[in-house]
Amino acid sequence: MARLNVNPTRMELKKLKARLSTAVRGHKLLKDKSDEMIRRFTILLRDTKALREGVEAELSDVLKQFSIARSVTPSYEAETAFAMPSVEVTAECETESIMGVDVPKVTLSSEKRADGLPYAYSEITGEADYSVQKASDLLPKMVQLAQTEKAVRMLAEEIERNKRRVNALEYVMIPQLEETIKYIKDKLDENERAAVVRLMKVKNKAQ
């Protein structure tokens, strides 16, 4: 490992020692952060996987139902029937911090119409009612999935970044500092010994 290019003086030594202690402390903190992030990440990942499995299964069910509904209604009627939303979905978007990573937090609120469906019953068949109803019911879950999946992705990125920082400290910064400190110490000791020897020689000559 290459040592830093510094003058071997006492002042540099003091500076480097301070830097080393900061680096070691930073390394420990980052490592702890990384451990905790990974713990949260695993929990979140498991949740997301379960949620996604549920949503995917239900969604394909809804879509199947809907395609049946479409096949029994003339297309232009279907267009007009579905063009009006039954519920006004508003999502309250906030952010939440997981270990310093801002992840989205969404709370969904929907105002249902009194009758629940956006079209007159005469226009459309029961299959459509059913699929629209199910889609509305599924929506909160889908939003939940969107939120956690985003959190997983952001957290993964942050973990990777953090890992790089930890490694840079552990394998580059700290060894470099240690080696430089050792170099300066050796150099200073050497100087001291040289001074002692010189003094002894001078003393010998004086006698």
């Binding site: 995917e56 199947k64 809907f66 479409r70 469906l117 629209v132 990125e157």
Partner: protein, 105 residues
């Protein structure tokens, strides 16, 4: 902040969500979907994207991972092809380096 939800997709399947109160944007191919996403990314906070469109746009979608919003999430169009799971899997591999959930090779 109040957010809005949108769905970008191919085919009739997304129409059912229109009735459920989600804004729909039909897109036949990934190029169109990319244009639409660019346009609506500021306005809508939660965007669902069908799997067949999300798959070719994987690289493009990465840019949305920088900030909390908008949230772009893929949903299966019809039968699931497992793209959503793949996204999770790649995130897991990046963060942990090991497979803890999907124990298959």
């Amino acid at each position: 902040m109040t957010g809005k939800t949108a769905i970008v997709g191919n085919g009739d399947g997304i129409m059912v969500f229109k009735a459920a109160g989600v804004a729909t944007f039909p897109a036949e191919n990934e190029k169109k979907a990319r244009d639409i996403l660019r346009k609506i990314a500021k306005e809508y906070q939660i965007i669902f994207l069908t799997e067949d469109l999300a798959k070719p746009l994987t690289e493009f979608l990465k840019r949305f991972d920088e900030a909390p919003y908008p949230v772009v999430v893929s949903i299966p169009s019809g039968e699931s092809e497992g793209y959503g799971m793949e996204v999770l899997k790649s995130a897991m591999e990046r963060a942990l380096g090991v497979d803890i959930l999907f124990n298959k090779d």
